[in-house]
Symmetry: C2
Subunit: 216 residues, 2 copies
Amino acid sequence: MSLVTCHISVSLDGFVAGPNQRAEEPLGDGGERLHEWAFANAAWREQHGHEGGERTPDSEVTEEVTAGVGAYVMGRNMFAGPGEGPWDSAWRGWWGEDPPFHVPVFVLTHHGREPLEMDGGTTFHFVTDGIESAVSAARAAAGDGAVSVAGGAQVIQQTLRAGLLEELYLHIAPVLLGGGERLLEDVGDPVLEPVKVVASPAATHVKYRVTYGERG
Amino acid sequence: MSLVTCHISVSLDGFVAGPNQRAEEPLGDGGERLHEWAFANAAWREQHGHEGGERTPDSEVTEEVTAGVGAYVMGRNMFAGPGEGPWDSAWRGWWGEDPPFHVPVFVLTHHGREPLEMDGGTTFHFVTDGIESAVSAARAAAGDGAVSVAGGAQVIQQTLRAGLLEELYLHIAPVLLGGGERLLEDVGDPVLEPVKVVASPAATHVKYRVTYGERG
């Protein structure tokens, strides 16, 4: 069965977005600094249609977290922005007509909508009956690939609380945001085991295996 | 001049002690899990008078953070416990007659007291006029050695806010405490640069250089 995994950039003080998230600044104040490790590296730039960038340990991590993903799960805010955001049939996501997913994406929402087929293999499906259902649908669609929970924080928290997330790959940025949206809050008491660490001056990448049994 | 450094164990959700800190459980609920990486390794056990333990990457980190320390700075709570704690001339710290410091220790407190000379080279000095004064006194006492800020969180936060801490070595334990005493809160906006990472199954050790100039 598909591995359910998640990779996300987090500040050293635990935030995945800075304070004052808003439509013009969906990552909040300073939130872009979380992703500097990605913006500079060659693999991310290529995936997002830019040239240049350096081959760094961060490039390898970028390739690792995108290889073999068969489907994504994401929250409504990630698809349409924080707060009220745009939510009508004209809204086609933040990523233009060829989003960088190239596989089915299951958007967890309270508002149903017909699937939205984009260029390049991305189709957004809208799931209204909860995280278990979204993960099940993503697993079915992913085939031999992994299910990657793309974010935001609330959806990742839901997968942890439900005991569904099997791997959590944190990109710990050397950044203090001082406030904003926390990642690891109200997630129950999963057992985390670091299984891989990749270090660079731009971030410390730590992959955790996540289980929910008795503590060893 | 002496490097001002700090090493401390922190949970993946950012706590240096669990909820409900109290005299019988000064690390709070679950707080001991932060230090499992240390308890199991040979270097820590030897320093604390126990035999056994394994030689692991964690052992090397333990040796690294204790080598070359010429003086410590610590908060009143670390010396005497949270809340009211014991605070009279009979109280000689938590560590018995031969504490594991072996150099001068400057305790930041509101209550003056004569220096307390212990066995094995540890002398506790009590500083009542603030963090700058405590760090200055520790620097003078440390000679060519480093000044290590031992904790707790409040004293570390003070050194960051005052722009005094030059190195922060975090032992990131694969543990979620869900509450307790946060480390990186209300510390201003220092610039952090990871300069070393040591990984083990028990913890991810990340050493940050800390500066306070303009962001690059």
